[in-house]
Symmetry: C2
Subunit: 153 residues, 2 copies
DNA sequence: CCAGCTGAGTTGGTTTTGCCAACCTAGCTC
DNA sequence: GAGCTAGGTTGGCAAAACCAACTCAGCTGG
């Protein structure tokens, strides 16, 4: 039943939760402010059974939260909202977007830009050290720990 | 035949190339230094037809390159290596890893750490402005351009 | 010079997953 | 109490993934 593989690799575990078809697009819409089942379904054109499955997975692993809310004069409904953990995926989505903008460009240019909130200096995703300064990818070293597996996944 | 959707959203286009099952794990192994078909197949346990399909997609969109090489005293073979565009996915993989380390932790701790190359100060993935200074996610604004779609994808 | 080995796939059949349309259910409105 | 709507579930079909077996080309050993 668990979708998270029993792997010491955190990339593989993340993909167990996030790597199915539609999941990143659902998250993109969630960052865009959508919360209701029918909104996701209509905006993405996704089959309702697949959407129900993906939302259940995201809720189960703490990426989204189902809240029952009640508008006055209406029955109670469920809304799906990003948790703090889900909101941290912002940087993953932004990294994918940045790569696509650069390497799979669209004739009309990017449809969404990221800017510093006040002023509009451009923002990109990159490696940062503990002092808040950017580090070039070439200066980032990958170090295997004792938990590194012998083989598989 | 094209796997890249005809979408103005660069996240959707990136996922068209990268979002199929196994693709990110293949890239992870490529960053780990694997280059040969049988290495990927044996290390991931992936079916050879699926591996052939994913590698062809990555080559087609400029993420990896197939090079024919010849070891002395052996026939010519193909090797798959990341292109510069592929190497830029480093930050996407690192962002996924960082999220998994934090939100789907493994009892034995992370199996791979990222550090600044000389010294071992920790490195993380985050938003950076054009001056190389980190920006808090809350201070990053998303701005829709004229290319933003009316509906769908 | 022919049998066997190895890397890099391809092919065929089965199982899983996704897709589509139709249906269900609870509570509200009329 | 009939119909509307949001939020799903169910069932049949199509596409994708999985597995095992096979191919193919060039070396290597006998």
């Amino acid at each position: 039943m668990s979708k998270v593989p029993d792997s010491s690799c955190s990339i593989a575990r993340s993909l167990g939760v996030l790597g199915e078809r539609w999941t990143f697009l659902i998250l993109r819409e969630a960052f865009g402010g959508l919360t209701r089942f029918a909104e996701f379904r209509d905006s993405l054109g996704i089959a309702p059974d697949v959407l129900a499955d993906r939302l259940a997975t995201l809720v189960r692993y703490g990426v989204m939260e189902r809240a029952t809310y009640q508008e006055p004069g209406s029955r109670s409904r469920s809304a799906y909202a990003l948790t703090p953990a889900g909101r941290e995926l912002n940087v993953v989505l932004a990294a994918l977007q940045q790569w696509g903008d650069l390497h799979l460009p669209w004739p009309e240019g990017p449809s969404i830009l990221r800017r510093v909130r006040d002023g509009d200096r451009p923002v990109h995703v990159g490696f940062v050290d503990d002092g808040g300064k950017e580090i070039a990818p070439a200066d980032v070293a990958m170090i295997r720990t004792a938990a590194y597996p012998g083989q598989r996944t």
